[in-house]
């Protein structure tokens, strides 16, 4: 089938319709499943009323401990008392009074927390039910001062922008590769994208598990990914199949969303004090992400883009890490991070499909098999490189 052949317009339209129908069907099934399943996990003992509290944000400062909670009860819930480290403590709550399902409130506790040590906050509701939140390592929550934002931007640039730029610097060398080399590079790109897809999906699900049950975390992540995938596929296929610079920008966009998620996680780690952000870790992120630049460069090796294109690609892929750092350090609810990562996973899936399609079109002309040694080794090298370098940043 040739895309532009007028005779195949009808069948092509039908095929596109079917293409869109299949995931929509999956989407419909997923929605039905959500409706049928009880979204409140704690509904397992039959003791009325069901009460759920999720701790969404924790802020430590001179005034003590502040936590933002989200209620998920079957009825309005009332926080009656607050313990910190097994001691009842003075507190104030805003807004005061009962919490409707899904609503949030801040609880201020003038507790003298100790730098670098662990604390446990426990809420006792009017029914005597308790909800506990562990502060694993107490450090002051960053505030959005100019100096702080600049320093976070530097870390964001190191883990996001710098490696993408370095990866793109492989571009001149990549221009001279032959057919096999091209197959290798494209397969490498698909391999690294496959790693990112798996990694992001699991991470999103993990974060989703920590968020309030009413967000139905896992379903939210999967649906967000599916929706993003569909939207981006729809957009990218409007003007034909994306190639060259357009494809490079799609890859950069997907990777940018991934780096945004990475920035969120690092920023959140700052906020919660659980960041073991040593030098080797930052370097690990940088090395880990160098491949991203190679992947972005892969579709344009047969073209001669302007320098501005490289700058733009670098920023699209890398700058979101800085933004992520800023937002993440303000300790927002995990559901937003999970959602961002879900969207990112959908975007990665879309570019995987497009890069694969791009490769298959090319290999069709050049008789290169998907399972030929250079291609297979490229894919496996991409996965393996990401896996090995990820080991540095997993602790």
């Amino acid at each position: 089938m040739t895309e532009l052949a007028p005779s195949s317009n009808a069948s092509s339209g039908l095929r596109r319709f079917l293409w869109l129908l299949a995931p929509l069907l999956v989407l419909a099934i997923a929605i039905a499943w959500i409706a049928a399943a009880d979204p409140l996990r704690s509904f397992n003992n039959g003791a009325p009323p069901v009460e759920t509290i999720t701790f969404e944000r924790t802020v430590l400062n001179d005034g003590g401990i502040r936590v933002q909670i989200r209620a998920g009860g079957s009825e309005d819930m009332t926080v009656a008392q607050v313990q910190v480290d097994d001691a009842y403590w003075n507190f104030s709550m805003a807004p005061a009074g009962p919490l409707a399902r899904g609503s949030t409130a801040w609880i201020d506790i003038p507790y003298p927390w100790v730098l670098g040590e662990a604390h446990r906050v426990k809420l006792v509701t009017n029914t005597g039910t308790t909800f506990e939140h562990e502060i694993a390592v107490a450090v002051p929550t960053p505030v959005a001062t100019q100096g702080q934002l600049v320093q976070q931007a530097i870390v964001g640039a190191i883990v996001g922008i710098l490696p993408v730029a370095i990866g793109l610097m492989f571009y001149p060398a990549m221009r001279n590769v032959g057919t096999s080399g091209m197959g290798f590079v494209l397969a490498l790109t698909v391999g690294l994208l496959a790693f990112l897809l798996v990694d992001m999906t699991f991470e999103a699900l993990e974060l989703a598990a920590e968020s309030a049950p009413l967000f139905q975390g896992p379903a939210m992540v999967i649906l967000a990914a599916l929706a993003t995938f569909l939207i981006l596929m729809g957009i990218s296929r409007r003007g034909g199949r994306p190639e060259g610079l357009a494809l490079a920008f799609y890859i950069a966009f997907g990777i940018g969303l991934h780096n945004f998620g990475e920035g969120l996680a690092i920023g959140a780690a700052f906020a919660t004090g659980s960041a073991g952000l040593g030098t080797f870790l930052v370097l690990g992120f940088a090395i880990h992400n160098v491949t991203e630049g190679i992947g972005i460069a892969a579709p344009i090796v047969r073209q001669k883009p302007h320098l501005w294109a490289f700058v733009a690609l670098t920023l699209v892929a890398g700058a979101p890490a800085v933004l992520g750092m800023w937002i993440g350090s303000l300790a927002y609810g995990t559901q937003w991070s999970a959602l961002a990562l879900g969207v990112g996973a959908g975007a990665i899936l879309q570019v995987m499909v497009e890069v694969t399609a791009f490769f298959l079109r090319g290999s069709g002309r050049q008789r290169q098999s998907w399972l030929s040694p250079p291609v297979l080794s490229g894919f496996l090298t991409g996965v393996a490189f990401m896996y090995v370098t990820a080991a540095v940043i997993k602790v």
Binding site: D62, N90, N126, L277
Partner: protein, 377 residues
Amino acid sequence: MDNSVDLMRRRSLLLGGLAVAGSTAVLATSAAGQSMQGHDMASMSDPEELPADPYAAPGAHEGGHGQMTTVGTVDHQQNGFDPTAMLTEWDVGTVSTMDDGRTLRTFEVEAIDKEIEIAPGVVFPAWTFNGRVPGPALRAKEGERLRIVFRNYGSHPHSMHFHGIHSWRMDGVPGSGLINPGEEFVYEFDAKPFGCHLYHCHAFPLKRHMHKGMYGAFVIDPDPDLHPEYADVARSRLLGTPENARWQELVMVMNAFDTNFDNENEFYAVNTIANAYSQKPIRIEKSRPVRIYLVNATEFDPINSFHLHANFFNYFDTGTTLTPTLRTVDLIMQCQAQRGILEFNYADHEAGMYMFHGHQSEFTELGWMGMFDIVEA
């Protein structure tokens, strides 16, 4: 890759990481850590208007507990019992004379399911004797015939098991006075030995029936005629005598509540209401001696304790002697159902607030703490 960061809790890495991020300087300014925060003395003049500084030592106006307290007030009216009134409330029953001339003392006790507010805003589905936790503090005199009419209006089988000397048929265990809902049983026995005792429901599962609130103090005063060698002491213990009236007698049942039913207590108290006596201190006149009938009805924790601040006391374990079993101590331990009598005074003290609490710090901070307000009188 990202979530790894969340998992990292190694502080050595943390410090390195903060340095790398270059945020050390920013964080250090707000890091309170273990060092005392310098605070503005001017702010002390109007403490109510300003948010509490968690790192400043609490002032005297904060009532000894500082910020460490439950928040709010309990509706004692709604509960039907007041912890302050409970300290001096004795159920002496009704007295009649039997054919043989002996005194017959009759108590009436009902088992009732009742929701009670054990701390501000926290409602506990209790099982009670006479609608209160602890149950009525029963008081009799050594040698009297006691008759306790027990009616079970609760939803489960219950009993009254007295710590005392009696027949197996009156023991309140299965087969002897453990009755179903809607039934009645009359326990009858002689009041002996004199001392500070307790009663509690002995239905199984025992832990559940105990921590739901089914216990109370059971005090038998010594008969001075039977203890000529210590007649004065005995008279001072006998309710209704002028010698006894001198004393400021308090009954304190140390108890706790497992509000989320995980076999660990969320609230500790004396006489049920967490922090009741730290928020409303117990008034004590310094010229009159103090006697506390102390009972440990705490479930789940094997031991509770009583520590008196800035003073020492004599202790009569189980109250079955007229001379102290421990002299000049400021701390005693009681295992579950252990009890005893504390005697002390503040005659030579400066008037003011004096603390008392269980000396398991966990219990203290979960509500078992109170204050004596020692006044010139």
